[in-house]
Amino acid sequence: MAKVNLNREPMAKQDPKTRGKNFNEVALGYSAEQAKAEASRCLQCPKHPCTEGCPVEIDIPGFIKAVLDDDMPEAVRILKDKNSLPGICGRVCPQETQCEQACSLAKKGAPIAIGRLERYVADWERANKGALNPKTTLPKPTGKKVAVVGSGPAGLVAAADLAKLGHNVTLFEALHVAGGVLMYGIPEFRLPKEIVQAEVAYVSNLGVRIELDSVVGKAVTLDELLARGYDAIFLGTGAGAPMFMNIPGENLNGIYSANEFLTRVNLMKAYKFPEYDTPVVVGKRVAVIGGGNVAMDSARCALRLGADEVYIIYRRSEAEMPARREEVENAKEEGIEFKLLTNPKRYIGNDSGWVVGIECYEMGLGEPDESGRRRPIVKEGSEFILEVDMVVAALGTRPNPLIAQTTPDLKTTRQGTVVADEVTGKTTKDKVWAGGDIVTGAATVISAMGAGRRAATDIDIYLKNHS
């Protein structure tokens, strides 16, 4: 057996000082030499534990071998066989808890940098599109019509898979561009919008018709879609409704939901105001409430828009933070200040209705709760005031109720998620499947993609049995 190489190839990043002032991508990607060096570390284990760790079961050793063999078209083919959105996944998947955690070298602390290699292959394909253009040959049309509602990760994958199986797919999107959270939520510096649009274009080139500005549940109901001749519907509308804490002062000016702040900045490009019409107010002292990836994204956006000080306020300790380790590190490097074991009690406003401060509690940690994390407990009498002039509440999201409201026979939970089979995504309503955050509540891009894939498989079986 060859000597095991435990030197994980690092990926270059923009310097923290520089990147804190621009919206360009932070991570810079591998060079060809770096990619090959990293690929050469792969043991090509016969059992492929990494593939088992991947929600969409990519043949990971296969594409890595192709990179090593300098056969980039083959690497692209293997990746795209299972994953229609590799440029996105290579950037935002939490590989450290999936494929890389399962890697045989993880035990030795140096798993193959699968995400970085995936990103390298996807970027190579985008750069060499003209030369290569690996045409997917589509099967004979089945004549079956499928409506996919929501063009985020779950919907894009379901639409791509169904189109590859020969079905006639229409993708409905409420906003003015396709991509869902990949466009409005995740910032440019972590996921360039050009990459999202290139992957949307790939899905569209498979023959998927994309209907923008279409609010299903309002402009058209699920029953109306079925009456119009759609044979099946996949719901991938995500968890797009922001939650608040319902504490005093939460509606003061200068307090944004993370959804609003990120939508203004990412989707509406408020960072280019006044060249773009949408404004955003950014304070000098900004507090972001929450400890997830969305909180990190919000904090880092505020910094880039010119805030002097940006705080993350999180009620538990760093160990319980749901954000990716890498994003927490990036935020720290950029100078975001973490106020842990702290929770807002109320917001304080001035005479014209703008936020000027947060009264916070100090928190302690008790026994683990149902999430398995230690329960935060208020320390009575610990209140203190933090002066801020802007707040972003990144407290999680829940599914938008518009479709459920107009679809009485679609069963939902008390949290507003749609009840669906864990494997197939089949809902309680005839001909309707669902997957992604609308079923699970807010989760990851790749788990939504996995759900989109499994539902597409089940829809295909259903359509074949009903022809």
């Binding site: 409420a174 003015h176 609010v215 608040f244 200068g254 105001f273 404004p279 107010v281």
Partner: protein, 279 residues
């Protein structure tokens, strides 16, 4: 793309567009709104539907030039298109046979109140409409509102047309003059809706207002349009835009509407300079 098929100037800086939007026209109901975006650089703004034609496949929007977006919008001509037109959004106005309904329209509020008055009249209500504007040159749709009302009262703040004064004066006269009023619907600037609500409150007459907070997506995604009604935070885009005027926290709404005053000014100047240079 959503093509403009008809354009009119109704009053000073107040314009009407009829726009092709068959999917929206098919489903629209009184009190609902759309979100528009002019082009790639545009912001998303909500406009309440002034009319729609399901058969013809178009919707009618009325807007006043008040800022950068409406200034840019006013430069569009028949044949031009909007990049985006989304809807119909919001909960439709509740229409039933109430009895006597007073519809109060302030300024551009004349446009969205017209289809509501029409729907209420068709249900058999007696409609008394009060139409108010600052001055005669800002009045429009007097005829249209007369057609959907049993009685029409027109006011101007400066007395250049109709009764001199603001809309709350004839409203108070009606309520105290023995007319049994079952419902008041007020649409116009927030300050006008606030004072209509204050006027009707002592009389205990239910008052519905159509709130117009700042919005981004208009589908319940961002929470920008949150308003406090009866002490509870609601999203005007999906829970409204109609709410009980006696329960609305008006000062909060007015403060939130001022969030971007300085940016709005800057954006307006930016576009004036830019368009000035082209012509």
């Amino acid at each position: 793309m959503f093509r403009i098929i008809h354009s009119e100037t109704l009053a000073e800086k107040i314009h009407l567009f009829r726009i092709e939007a068959p999917a929206i026209a098919r489903k629209a109901q009184a009190g609902q709104f759309v979100v528009i975006r002019i082009d790639e650089r545009g912001e998303r703004i909500p406009l309440t539907l002034a009319d729609w034609d399901g058969k013809g496949g178009n919707v009618t929007l009325v807007f006043m030039e008040v800022g950068a977006t409406t200034f840019r919008l006013a430069l569009l001509k028949v044949g031009d298109s909007l990049a985006d037109l989304v809807g119909p959004l919001g909960v439709p106005t509740h229409i039933e046979r109430f009895g006597t309904v007073v519809c109060v329209a302030g300024g551009v509020g004349a446009a969205p109140i017209a289809p509501i008055a029409r729907a209420l009249k068709e249900k058999g209500n007696k409609i008394i409409t009060i139409l108010g504007a600052r001055s005669k040159n800002l009045l429009f749709w007097e005829d249209k509102l007369r057609n959907v009302s049993h009685q029409l009262i027109v006011t101007t703040d400066d007395g250049t047309y109709g009764r001199k004064g603001v809309v709350t004066e004839p409203l108070k006269d009606l309520l105290s003059g023995g007319e049994k009023v079952d419902l008041v619907i007020a649409i116009g600037p927030s300050i006008m809706m606030k004072f209509c609500s204050l006027t009707t409150k002592p009389f205990g007459v239910k008052t519905i207002v159509s709130l117009n907070p700042i919005m981004v997506d208009g589908t319940g995604m961002c929470g920008c349009c949150r308003v406090s009604v009866g002490g509870v935070t609601r999203f005007a885009c999906v829970d409204g835009p109609d709410f009980d005027g006696h329960q609305v926290d008006w000062d909060l709404l007015l403060a939130r509407q001022r969030t971007y005053l300085s940016q709005e000014k800057r954006s307006f100047e930016h576009w004036q300079a830019k368009i000035g240079k082209c012509s």
